[in-house]
């Protein structure tokens, strides 16, 4: 639609017309401000906790395991220098040979959701799949944080009680 609108405006005499081709979907995916009746609906990005352990592909499993256990968590997100999510390492994956690299043992296809996704919808999917948390990333794969199902359910219950 926007390309047609852009050309139409030019035909109407506008000389400096730009087309934000990626549009509102892109804007929302990066958590940028919006207005409107639905703008304040809770989204996955609102509750994403950025305080999550990360590691690199070349990190040794032994050192990652120590960090994970010291944190009390059981997951570490594998990212590159740009903050792009490459995988995840959790649970039993951490129990391998300390000298192995993260790249060899990680899960390279972790499920992710966008910051702009409806919190209600994402929570329902987590409940259906019986998962306790999900990674939140931008549309270009950059890590935003982790969304815990318990936090999401609590927030939705609060919203419901307040409605």
């Amino acid at each position: 639609m926007s390309p047609r609108a852009a050309w139409r405006l030019e035909s109407l005499g506008f000389s400096e017309v730009y087309d934000y081709v990626a549009g509102q979907a892109d804007w929302l995916a990066f958590g940028l401000p919006t207005e409107g009746t639905s703008a304040n609906a809770p989204r996955a990005g609102h509750l994403a906790d950025p305080d999550i352990l990360t590691c690199g592909l070349g990190d040794e499993l032994g050192s990652v395991r120590e960090r994970v256990r010291a944190s009390g968590e059981n997951i570490c997100v594998v990212i590159n220098d740009e903050g792009i999510v490459l995988g995840g390492i959790r649970g039993d994956d951490l129990d391998g040979d300390a000298g192995r690299t993260v790249e060899v043992v990680m899960d390279s296809g972790p499920v992710t959701v966008r910051p702009s996704e409806s919190l209600e919808e994402v929570t329902r999917r987590m409940q259906d799949r019986k998962v306790g948390r999900v990674l939140v990333t931008t549309s270009d794969g950059r890590l935003v944080g982790v969304l815990n199902r318990g936090d999401a359910e609590f927030r939705l219950a609060e919203e419901s009680a307040g409605a």
């Binding site: 005499g13 506008f14 017309v17 730009y18 087309d19 081709v21 549009g23 509102q24 940028l32």
Partner: protein, 67 residues
């Protein structure tokens, strides 16, 4: 010819006074739109409705995505 831009460029141009225009249907605009955008649905876009825009300022149009 209209110039395609990304969200960083949108932010920069808006900060410099560009007009941000949502060309989606009015009900979609009411539900949610980029902060500061005005509604000018493509279906109703003509010389009359476009007259609310300042021809001396850049205009940025957007819809949902590339579809």
């Amino acid at each position: 010819m209209p110039v395609e831009i990304n969200r960083g460029q949108v932010q920069h141009l808006v900060a410099e006074g560009a007009q941000l225009v949502d060309v989606l249907p009015a009900d979609e605009y009411a539900s949610e739109h980029l902060s500061g955008a005005i509604s000018l649905p493509l279906k109703t876009l003509d010389a009359t409705t476009a007259a609310r825009l300042d021809q001396n300022r850049p205009v940025i149009v957007y819809c949902w995505d590339t579809q």
